[in-house]
């Protein structure tokens, strides 16, 4: 993958992580699963996805954009 496409990819990934933290598509929805609202489960799952994206970024993107000292 060329560097600029990779940068755009990370930018998109972060934009999606931010936008999806609040499940806008479930606005007004009150469905329950195990006593908790579905939208809360989405948020919990999304935060775990965010951690996975952040972990991948620290391995493959972090040093590329701002540089590193000790890797």
């Amino acid at each position: 993958m060329n560097p600029s496409m990779r940068a755009v990819g990370w930018l998109l990934a972060f934009a999606v992580v931010v936008a999806g933290a609040v499940p806008w598509f479930l606005w007004g929805n009150s469905q329950l699963i195990g006593g908790l609202p579905l939208w809360l489960w989405w948020h919990i799952g999304w935060m775990i996805v965010a951690t996975a994206v952040f972990a991948a970024f620290t391995r493959h993107g972090w040093d590329r954009y701002l540089g590193g000292i000790d890797g």
């Binding site: 972060f14 992580v17 931010v18 933290a21 609040v22 499940p23 806008w24 479930l26 606005w27 007004g28 929805n29 009150s30 329950l32 195990g34 006593g35 908790l36 609202p37 939208w39 809360l40 948020h43 919990i44 935060m47 775990i48 965010a50 951690t51 952040f54 972990a55 970024f57 620290t58 972090w62 040093d63 590329r64 954009y65 701002l66 540089g67 590193g68 000292i69 000790d70 890797g71």
Partner: protein
């Protein structure tokens, strides 16, 4: 924002406890728990003191040697304060659990991204040039003592009411705890003296160590509370059934309170504001390695999730269970008082006190470094020795804490408003700083204009009374805190960025401006 909630916390405890909510025996248990905590914190501070050098870099930054766990928790504890234990559950109790989304998005995601964009960049620059504070870094890059002083002054201005409100909260909490045996001023003074002693002795290393203890303590206590309450009521399904009966709108996402404009403005303003809080921003310089910053960044959303979900769900469930909270009181102690033993409810209050202490310690420490390094040294005594500066820093802590303590005795209502807007005030600094970090053509004049312009816009909306104006038949409230549901702090942030960029574009950098200072690694 948090300022108001801390005020509510303190008022609430007074009301709750002086109203005979807990017995005398329980009150002395609470006092024992809190005093026990303070003693442990002092012990940790003394141990850290033995390991502390007298130079400024060690005092403020623990010689840039904090590991992942300690860095993560010292940032975490400072950020949260009583906000998580009392204010968040209160809001969830009154308005529904969407506060989890606001805080999760703000803290778990936006702040994490800024942690990389601002925090890591500052860390890299700090490693190369040895900066201790944000104003120092900016002043050096732009060759401007005035810029340095302006950023330090603005930061201390917004910090003052925030520290003061912590003292008011702590003072009121002790009144409530001892049922008035310790008067308000006595409680506030005791806490002030303890903070001065503690921060003065230990510096960043000691504060960071107790923050870690407090962070772990808060996480454990809140999960035990959830388990206890859930087993007492019969599980989350029962709690949800109660909500469905009492507050059917709570379970649906969104409400007339939680509008998209509210959710987005609150999350954005707090996340951006938090990065410029002196005690948070200074932590961007203290990691011992890039690996520590990376691990903290990755763990951040999970840590946030672990704390916010249980804390705010407890508040939400209380609404469904029909727990009635007296005017101005906090839902969490009331809920715990009903479903858990008194000693456990006491532990949670001790946790909240601990959080307020932790915030105050960090604020005093960072505030004093802004004062000595960015105001005293450049403007009063440039040739100050390192040893004298370390002592000045301690003097600065005493002076600042005493001033906020005296101000806290007057308890003026308007300062609560100022405290609640502190996040917005700090958020005005963020975009100009980001422009400076990433755009080499940024000029000194651009920075001075961007920062002053956005501060003036925001200050006018905080202090000038609202003026209704007729424009084409429609009435618009000028100087209101929100326009169409959007926080005015967002407009200030935009203005700051626009001014910084456009004025930098129109002006030429002076010969003493050193853009290459911010060039790091891959640049």
């Amino acid at each position: 924002m948090a300022g108001i909630d801390i005020w509510e916390v303190s008022m609430a405890e007074t009301t709750l406890l002086s109203g005979g909510g807990l017995s005398t025996a329980a009150t002395s248990v609470e006092l024992l728990v809190v005093v026990g905590y303070l003693l442990v914190a002092l012990l940790v501070g003394l141990v850290a003191y033995r390991l502390t050098g007298t130079d400024a870099e060690d005092y403020y930054l623990a010689s840039r040697s904090l590991g992942t766990l300690v860095l993560l928790f010292t940032t975490f504890a400072t950020l949260l304060s009583a906000f998580t234990f009392f204010a968040g559950p209160n809001l969830a109790y009154r308005q529904g659990p969407e506060w989890i989304l606001v805080m999760g998005t703000m803290d778990g995601i936006l702040f994490a991204i800024l942690w990389y964009l601002i925090g890591y960049k500052q860390w890299l620059i700090g490693q190369q040039h040895g900066y201790v504070t944000l104003p120092e870094m900016l002043g050096d890059r732009f060759g401007s003592t005035w810029l340095r002083g302006l950023v330090a002054g603005v930061s201390l201005f917004w910090l003052f009411p925030y520290v003061m409100l912590q003292q008011m909260g702590a003072g009121e909490a002790l009144v409530g705890l001892t049922d008035g045996t310790v008067p308000y001023w006595g409680g506030a003074a005791l806490i002030t003296v303890f903070m001065i002693l503690y921060v003065g002795l230990a510096g960043m290393r000691g504060v960071a160590w107790t923050d870690t203890i407090q962070g772990l303590f808060m996480l454990s206590v809140i999960w035990i509370a959830v388990a206890w309450v859930l087993s007492a009521i019969g599980g989350p399904t029962v709690a949800a059934a109660g909500l469905d009966a009492n507050n059917p709108t709570f379970l649906a996402l969104g409400s007339s309170f939680y509008t998209p404009a509210y959710i987005i403005s609150t999350a954005v303003v707090i996340a951006f504001g938090v990065t410029m809080f002196p005690q948070i921003n200074q932590r961007f310089f203290v990691a011992e390695s890039a690996a520590v910053l990376k691990r903290s960044f990755t763990l951040w959303p999970v840590l946030v999730l672990l704390l916010f979900v249980p804390a705010f769900l407890l508040g939400t469930w209380a609404a469904g269970l029909g727990v009635s909270v007296p005017e101005g009181a906090n839902v969490l102690p009331v809920l715990l008082g009903e479903y858990t033993p008194a000693w456990f409810a006491a532990l949670v209050i001790a946790g909240a006190m601990a959080a307020m202490m932790s915030s105050s310690d960090s604020m005093l420490l960072s505030g004093s470094s802004y004062f000595t390094r960015d105001l005293y040294r450049p403007f009063v005594e440039p040739a100050v020795t390192a040893d004298r500066e370390a002592w000045l820093a301690r003097g600065g802590v005493v002076a600042f804490a005493t001033a906020t303590f005296l101000a806290s005795l007057t308890r003026p209502g308007t300062l609560i408003q100022v405290g609640s807007t502190a996040f917005g005030g700090f958020a005005q600094l963020t975009l100009p700083v980001m422009v400076a970090l990433y755009w080499p053509k940024t000029t000194r004049v651009g920075m001075l204009t961007g920062i002053s312009g956005s501060q003036l816009l925001y200050l006018s909306h905080v202090f000038v009374p609202t003026v209704p104006v007729d424009i084409g038949g429609a009435t618009i409230s000028l100087f209101a805190r929100t326009y169409g549901g959007w926080d005015v702090a967002l407009a200030g942030m935009m203005l700051g960025a626009a001014l910084t960029i456009s004025v930098s574009w129109l002006t030429t950098a002076g010969t003493d401006e050193a853009a290459e200072r911010f060039a790091v690694g891959a640049d």
